[in-house]
Symmetry: none
DNA sequence: GTGGTCTAGACCACG
DNA sequence: GTGGTCTAGACCACT
């Protein structure tokens, strides 16, 4: 369970949980039709109210990333891994595009933008 | 006035306004000690509650980007342009870093990330 | 065995099973005092927890549609066929009435409702 | 406000509220872009917890039947009336179809089904 | 004053 | 033991 809750983040906790599972599924920590931990276990582990976890799971099942078997638990939908990777990819693309646009609108020129990007990826290596 | 309010964005409206001014100042639309439009005019123009504009200005003056002359109006702080460019730059760096980290944690490899970035900057040309 | 379980239906599985037997008895698939399949066989066949089948049978025997001989099995109560047909009929009447009321309350007029009904029965032919 | 909560219904309260608004909008009680009562007011009126109302509104806005203006309230989406009528219609069609199928599978013949339908619509007149 | 989020905790249906 | 629903009530961001 790789989720770490940042209580001070402006993002709601249920969203952090939700995204945590998207990441783990994309990473392959849970495979198709594998059972996820129970709502109660997660809530204890993350020190969070069960309702908050339920909410996260609700969104995930709404998005068909997980499915529910009544009285049994929540399971990873088949094909969810690819779906999650795709979601993350498009989210990232969108956000980076927006950020770069912002630079342009603020008067940064191509070279400056290019350097900035190099800087970031260089650090990451 | 280049600000466009997206009511459906999860970002608060006051923040959109605030950031709009940061952008315009960075771009050079307003120079040092130039008077900004009145709260009232802005609120009418953006079809927004005057309180919301006031809040945006409150934060901006808190950040020393603008200053208030009571009874007269809000003015651009000297040196605000450079300050705003810096703010935008570091914000962008931070955000892009975070997004790239996310890709890594989701199991994307260097090549995939590199291609994705190329894709975005390519499109922007 | 004509029962098909829809795991995704909001209706509980035990109810689907229960209603499946009511249907089969009404249709004449089982006659008075005939032995029903064992809980175990049904649970295997439907890929369902035996408890769930037991619960369905419990309600059915509560309703005097079937009766239990301990250690032997469950049997169709004499006269159950007529009973089941009646149950189905009144259930259907009730439900259709409710649905039509709903249309009225939503502002549909007599003609629209008439057409809608025709449409459905037409299709069914 | 035409909603009446049936605490004993198997349907969750939030769903009853949700459907109540769908009905009222379909009926024309609220028109495009009209503000709905506040969550708090509704919760007081229906003697229900505010969270429950919030949940109903959440689903409605998910379905684009209403939209939210932050800090102001919930509003009817333009075109929601037609949408709601359509939703009700297809729901009703689906349910009635299912009920009639049931009759057939239970061994009722065309004439019996026809009479039953006549009976219901006759009563309704 | 508006809705959004969260906690604490309860009860219930289901398997 | 599993999740679904609900209450009571709190705090917060936004307008």
């Amino acid at each position: 369970m790789k989720i770490i809750i940042d209580e001070n983040s402006p993002r709601p906790i249920y969203e952090q949980i939700m995204f945590g599972f998207i990441q783990m599924i994309a990473f392959g920590d849970y495979s198709d039709d594998e059972k996820l931990p129970s709502v109660r276990d997660i809530s204890v582990f993350l020190k969070v109210n069960p309702n908050t976890v339920t909410r996260a799971f609700f969104y995930l099942s709404n998005e068909k990333i997980i499915y529910l078997k009544r009285g049994i638990g929540n399971f990873v939908s088949p094909g969810a891994m690819e779906d999650c990777k795709q979601r993350i990819k498009s989210r990232v693309e969108e956000n980076i595009s927006r950020e770069l646009e912002l630079l342009e609108r603020a008067g940064f020129n191509k070279t400056e933008i290019y350097n900035l990007l190099n800087n970031i990826t260089g650090r990451a290596k």
